[in-house]
């Protein structure tokens, strides 16, 4: 290990590793330096200048986030120079910002607002610049609202879109006072390559990028006595929701969440995990059919590798960026949309309800799900399959509005018919989870034996590595699957679209010969989704992942094909995977999109 560096911060001596920034060194010394453009997920920009500190012997102040410590540096984080400069910078940012805080969606959770409060900016001397600019709010996307008047040009969204997602839908244009964050030819975010993943929202410090919220619409539906309002909750919501309600990252609140939803007035509270299990049945069967088509029938029309289709951000991305690979996507709808299609058919019939009266709401860790629910083809039930999509954050807002003391809620259970799930459904919320769930089922269906990993935990596909690979060798299959004997099933898992790009490029170049690929648009999978609580960081996502796997281990059933309600739906309604009804309700097709 290289020699450590000794510095002093506000008179406190600290020893740090070479390369440590002043910001991180200060943290070690228990000193907090305010930041805005800095984010743990992103490269260092050093453009907001809020984190400036004084270094003895230097004429100018230095950005703590961007300046590495040097031997014997004497740093002052709260000198009068620093204090005045910082205050000035916050004032400047406010002068350029539409500080209409009480009518802002981010009121109370805005980082600029917090700084203004911490530094007590009590009167604004500078000339407000917003009236001079010709801002329009982009509301055309069903998922994301972009309001440039609230943008402070920290470029966190631009770095997110480039570094985490490799999409570059958002970019910087113009210079000087005209400089702004925008899209290709300043088109609406709805008509460019944007995957609607919402990572920009998760990383925006202000209200410049927010989700389109459907809170009022859902309250209206709940209050409407003629409507039967049902709700489904995605696996990652239960390990995120607590953070919005005062709990530590990684808190599991499944039971309280269900109880709260019931108290909000939903007529039935059911689980997307159920359709996650169902997805495994459909998608697992589809994979086996594709393997047969390739290995036995040598059908050139059958595409391998097959890629998962649960993540609507990933779907929109591949439609824009790799349209020639749409045939590789599993035709399975995402669990949300499977649930939606079944809610207004299977559920309506079983409960003897007119599907017309059913309002189907979903709570998702995701903003792309809002886009997905709006896709024209998502109406196979004869109605809009999913009417409103709420993010984890929106649900937390509703819980607060309803005055529920979340911590005091008694755990409750999901309602029957589409509320039962297995551990395999839960792990859909983490990167690698769909792969793991699929392997647990597919391997067992083919061989009659459990997948050969200790306690069913397929650890090679877990964790936060950007691209993970594993190979599962099939030995002594059952008679029906004998053509798979000795086949080494090559699998890859990617999360974050920048890693999706890596995998897709290796598929395109022929470098890889995978059979099955799982891709999730967001870092960490759904648990790091664009609709999850803010802030996010690698550490927070790790905590949420631990909670997901703990949830899995705590389930009595951990394999999708053992879910009794899944068995029941095939017996009573769908008949068998990839059957006629499945084909109609649970599968879909994809559309090539323009690449700008």
């Amino acid at each position: 290990m290289a020699k450590t560096i000794k510095i002093s911060i506000n008179g406190i001596f600290v020893e740090v590793e070479p390369g440590t920034t002043i910001l991180n060194a200060a943290q070690q010394a228990g000193i907090l330096i305010p930041t805005l453009c800095y984010h743990k997920d992103l490269c260092i920009a050093g453009n907001c200048r809020v984190c400036v500190v004084e270094i003895a012997g230097q004429k100018r102040l230095a950005a703590a986030c961007a300046t590495p410590c040097e031997e014997e540096m004497e740093i002052f984080t709260n000198s009068l120079n620093v204090h005045h400069s910082r205050k000035h910078i916050i004032e400047l940012l406010l002068s350029e910002h539409n500080a209409d805080c009480t009518s802002c969606y981010k009121n109370g959770s805005c980082e600029l607002q917090k700084l203004a409060s911490d530094y007590k900016i009590l009167k604004q001397d500078f000339i407000p610049l917003v009236p001079f600019k010709n801002y329009t709010i982009d509301k055309l996307s069903p998922a994301i609202i972009k309001d440039d008047s609230k943008c402070i040009r920290c470029q966190r969204c631009v770095r997110t879109c480039e570094e985490l997602q490799g999409v570059n839908a958002l970019t910087v244009a113009y210079k000087g006072d005209q400089m702004k964050i925008t899209t290709f030819f300043e088109k609406s975010i709805n008509s460019v390559v944007c995957s609607t993943c919402g990572q920009c929202i998760n990383h925006c410090p202000t209200g410049a990028l927010v989700e389109k919220n459907y809170i009022e619409k859902v309250w209206d539906a709940i209050a409407d006595k003629t409507k039967h309002v049902i709700v489904q909750t995605a696996p990652a919501v239960r390990v995120g929701l607590g953070e919005e309600l005062g709990l530590k990252p990684g808190s599991r609140v499944t039971g309280k969440m269900v109880a709260a939803l019931k108290r909000l007035g939903f007529d039935a509270v059911m689980d997307t995990d159920f359709t996650a299990d169902l997805t495994i049945m459909e998608e697992g069967t589809e994979l086996l059919m594709r393997l047969k088509g390739t290995l036995v029938d040598h059908d050139p029309e059958v595409k391998l590798p097959m890629a998962t289709s649960c993540s609507p951000g990933w779907i929109k991305y591949i439609e824009h960026m790799y349209p020639e690979y749409l045939g590789h996507l599993s035709t399975c709808k995402s669990p949300q949309q499977m649930f939606g299609a079944l809610a207004k058919t299977y559920y309506a019939k079983a409960r003897n309800l007119d599907p017309e009266t059913i309002v189907s709401v979903s709570v998702m860790p995701c903003t792309a799900k809002k886009f997905e629910a709006n896709r024209t083809e998502m109406s196979d039930s004869g109605y809009r399959d999913v009417d409103y999509v709420l993010t984890t954050r929106e649900l937390a807002i509703m819980i607060k509005q309803a005055g529920l003391d979340f911590m005091k809620m008694e755990d409750a259970h999901f309602d029957r018919l589409m509320g039962e799930s297995t551990g395999a459904g839960v792990i859909f919320g983490a990167t690698g989870g769909v792969m793991e769930a699929a392997l647990r089922t597919v391997y067992e269906l083919v061989t009659g034996w459990e997948v050969p990993f200790n306690n069913l935990n397929i650890t090679p596909v877990r964790g936060m590595e950007g691209v993970k690979e594993t190979t599962v060798k099939i030995e002594n299959p059952l008679e029906e699957w004998v053509f798979l004997d000795g086949v080494e099933l090559k699998c890859a898992v990617a999360h974050g679209l920048v890693n999706a790009k890596r995998v897709m490029d290796s598929v395109r170049s022929g470098e890889s010969d995978y059979h099955f690929i799982e891709i999730m648009a967001c870092p960490g999978g759904c648990l790091g989704g664009g609709g999850q609580p803010i802030p996010t960081s690698p550490e927070i996502r790790r905590k949420r992942a631990e909670a997901i796997y703990a949830e899995d281990e705590g389930m009595p059933l951990r394999k999708s094909h053992l879910n009794p309600e899944v068995i029941k739906i095939y017996k009573d309604f769908l008949e068998h995977p990839l059957g006629e009804k499945s084909h109609h309700l649970l599968h879909t097709h994809y559309t090539e999109r323009e690449r700008f």
Binding site: G46, L93, D177
Partner: protein, 394 residues
Amino acid sequence: MATSYQLKRADFIFKNENDWEEVLSKSFSRTPQELINELISSELKGRGGAGFPTGLKWKLTAEVANDTKYVICNADEGEPGTFKDREILSMVPFKVLTSMAVCGYVIGAKEGYVYLRGEYFFLLPELNKAISEFEYYCKETNIDFTIRIFMGSGAYICGEETALFESMEGKRGEPRNKPPFPSNSGYMGKPTVINNVETLAHTYTIFKYGAKRFYDLGVQYSRGSKLFSVSGDTPKPGIYELELGMSLADFVEEFGDGDTKAVQVGGASGFLVPRKRFNETAIGFQGKLIGISLPTGGSMMLFNSSRSMFNVLDNYLEFFREESCGQCTPCRVGCQQLLKGIKAVKRGEKNAKYLDKLLQLTETMKLTAKCGLGQSVANSFSSIVENFREEMIY
């Protein structure tokens, strides 16, 4: 007034360059260490305006071990009021090319680039011709060095060295965080020497005549001669090579129209000096020889009593408002506030005290802006507002 500060003309830069082949081969016959020492003892400082010791820059870059290094000639001459680099490139391009190749030899670089200001597009044919001839000679004499031209697109900020690298790499021209400095990580993340056109022309003089000839010009801390772009209310606008260290009074005596009210030294990012301070102001780098010493990239704008200093400042701020890259808060928002602020005071929408708030703001900009652009807006603003406050108000 001491006589040693009198204005002295020099004539090195534009003197014939027919001997470039000789200077090149002579330099290549010496060791890199010798050449670095020669440069260091000449005390040549960067002529772009910042004044970093050139010999030290080459030395630092030479010391970094890397197979790939670059030499870049900064010809993005964008400072309002300077036009000397254009003249050097059209009159004596071989001096610049020779120095680039010598620099390549010293630091271990095989590739050089001229980053040419977008507006200097018309120089391209002649410059390309010179480069072909130069490269041909290099090939003949087994000198492994190529030079390419990279055209800028007209952004002022791209004259800032790290923004220039970003621009060359095909990205948005925005300054980087420093450290790392170009000597460690410049163009393409490789060790890079980036010198102003004029600096390279001076190194030619030094390699030709030896360090002493250069060192003997100028005064302590500010050795050598420098090109000045003289413009404004002057009977003889143009480019002049003068020894550093002269007093501004002498300069005005030579170039003024008899009614000089103030001189802007160093372009829009420099300082405005009012008549009452001409005597105590010297033109050169740090070190207080007399009163204040002002560095300059060579822009000298003279204003006579017919000029409104409000209009002058308004014009500079319009320039900065537009030419700030927009990346960092103090510069992007600060420039807008300064411009809107002086207009509001002029119109009576803000009272005169608001000027003090704006002066404090320029202090913050100087302390906290990410690069030289935002840091230097304070120079012209405070020197104009402090010296001509009444013109800002009435």
